[in-house]
């Protein structure tokens, strides 16, 4: 399969500050690739180089087989980009802004514009200045998808969107993907990447840790389980295999669990519970337990 994005030994320093170091990966045509890492890991730096908003210190990146620095203009014609923080001209109305945005790609497809606005429940008549953060994000989504790009780059796109809108937005992305669009989806929230992506690249402190199939990540993913007992439990309860990082007080028990979730429930069942919380661990915790701390792999 053809690669839409090819990144080789890409390095970017901002003066002396580290952006990314020696990052390499590629994204195949038609895939939804998750790009995941904690804040400040270098996701946006990588993306901004792909768009030629910033220049690499060394290494290179190609999109559609073209060089990001030399052919940025041609590349961007077929890229839809949604930045993590959206800012627009405050005194424009939403429709005005979307038309301005579309004018750089040629003709404005009003039918598509209305369709996208309808799906995202975006009011076209309002002033940008009066929009909430979530609504500005919707403007970003519509302007990013309006020209039917064949590469969609999303940088932490879901911030500010309520769960329903996230659903709709993911729906749109899947729709575009079925049409053939390739998607680079950057996020620091693992579950949303798991929902959408087929492969993920994990980046931390400017370095690529590894690229994995999403299936293998799900099998090995940790759950965070926290229990509150109705009565004090004096003895340490017996936990199934796969439990780790156990923290205990007479009325509480918390542990990370990796393995068959049924086994975990079996061992919990004998307690009289006041409350039980099962969470996805955040990225930092995953890095700590899954990748063995500071130096990752």
């Amino acid at each position: 399969m053809k690669n839409v994005i090819e990144i080789e030994n890409l390095t970017k320093y901002y003066g002396k500050a580290r952006g990314i170091v020696d990052v390499s990966f590629s994204v195949a045509e038609g895939e939804i690739f998750g790009f995941i890492g904690p804040n400040g890991a270098g996701k946006s730096t990588t993306i901004r180089i792909l768009l030629n908003l910033i220049y690499p210190t060394s290494g290179g990146a190609r999109v559609f087989g073209r060089d990001c620095v030399k052919d940025g203009y041609e590349i961007r014609r077929d890229v839809g980009y949604l930045p993590s923080e959206v800012f627009y001209y405050d005194d424009m109305k939403v429709l005005e802004l979307l038309k301005y945005s579309a004018s750089f790609y040629g003709r404005v497809d009003m039918q598509r514009l209305r369709y996208l606005a309808e799906v995202m429940e975006l009011d076209l008549g309002r002033k940008i200045d009066d929009l909430s953060y979530g609504n500005k994000k919707k403007v970003g989504i519509v302007q990013g998808l309006l020209h039917r790009p064949s590469l969609i780059i999303l940088d932490e796109p879901t911030g500010g969107l309520d769960p329903l809108m996230q659903q709709r937005f993911f729906g749109l992305i899947r729709e575009e993907n079925r049409r053939g669009a390739t998607v680079l989806f950057s996020s620091h929230i693992l579950p949303e990447v798991q929902k959408l992506c087929s492969r993920v690249g994990i980046i931390r402190e400017g370095k690529m840790l590894r690229v994995e199939e999403i299936g293998s990540m799900r099998d090995t993913a940790y759950k965070k389980i926290r229990l509150e007992f109705r009565e004090e439990v004096p003895e340490a309860p017996e936990l199934p295999e796969g439990a780790g990082d156990v923290q205990r007080s007479p009325r509480e028990l918390a542990f990370l669990f990796r393995g068959d979730i049924n086994e975990a429930f079996k061992s919990i069942a004998r307690f009289d519970l006041r409350n039980a919380v099962i969470e996805e661990p955040d990225l930092e915790e995953i890095f700590l337990h899954y990748y063995g701390g500071e130096d990752g792999v």
Partner: protein, 264 residues
């Protein structure tokens, strides 16, 4: 040409505001002219007692205020100053406003070459300045004609009016250049005023020491109305210096803008 149009839209209000300011200053000074001309002998006698350095600094060292030409050359120093502030402010704004409103990502992730973005912005800047000068000239002319009597010196008035444009070009170039240097320029007005007044102070010093070479340092010396009175034309060397500064700094600004990292 959509960026060009967008720029014009964004700057039309300051354009009108500053043009009104220039016209207000022009007509306010003109109102005072009648009373000064009526007591010409007295005014000249009073001014004769002022220290030369003081008169130089305020632009009426070698002209007679009771004569309309001399009075205009005095008042145009202030019109040029207001124009210079607008030229500098707009020059600083056009390439840096995306950074301030944080819309750089929006604009530069579009299929645009940076050179194209900068060119359209430069074109808008030049048109804004030209429009301001034409507006000012057209609306100030009736005022001049009403005072000029039988034989108005139209050529002189044209030269004085459009010296505003020439000085603006100088500051627009400097403004473009300064605006692309920092990562994100936030304080447009403070930088504008600091730079314009710096050049104005150089001019004041220059007037006092009367050093010819120093006069190349500041555009306020290039098109001095008192010189236009006697010469009735722009000085070719100063004109060349003015345009050279504009083209050089604009080219530098374009080059830096092309190579610059755009931060979110």
């Amino acid at each position: 040409m959509n960026i060009f149009r967008q720029e014009l839209k964004m700057h039309v209000r300051p354009l009108l505001f500053y043009t009104l300011g220039m016209l207000a200053a022009f007509y306010a000074f003109l109102l005072l002219y009648d009373s000064i001309a009526a007591d010409a002998a007295l005014v000249d006698a009073v001014l004769a007692n002022f220290p030369k350095e003081f008169k130089a600094a305020f632009g009426f060292a070698d002209v007679s205020l009771s004569d309309l030409g001399g009075y205009l050359s005095f008042l145009f120093a202030y019109i040029v100053l207001i124009g210079a502030v607008f030229g500098m402010k707009t020059g600083i704004s056009v390439l840096s406003e995306e950074g301030r409103t944080r819309t750089s990502d929006f604009l530069l992730s579009k299929p645009l070459r940076r050179g194209r973005v900068a060119s359209e912005k430069l074109l808008a800047l030049c048109l804004l300045l030209a429009v301001q000068n034409v507006l000012f000239f057209a609306l100030a002319l009736p005022g001049y004609l009403s005072k000029a009597g039988e034989e108005p010196n139209l050529k002189l008035f044209v030269l004085m009016s459009f010296s505003v444009f020439m000085v603006q070009l100088f500051f627009a170039g400097i403004g473009l250049f300064l605006s692309v240097l920092p990562r994100r320029l936030k304080a447009v007005m403070p930088v504008t005023l600091a730079v314009v007044f710096l050049f104005y102070i150089v001019e004041l010093i220059n007037e006092s020491v009367l050093d010819k070479t120093l006069s190349y340092l500041t555009p306020f010396s290039y098109f001095k109305a008192s010189e236009l009175l006697s010469r009735a034309a722009y000085d070719g060397r100063y004109l060349a210096a003015d345009l050279a500064v504009f083209f050089l700094f604009t080219a530098l600004a374009f080059w830096i803008y092309e190579k610059k990292d755009i931060h979110a």
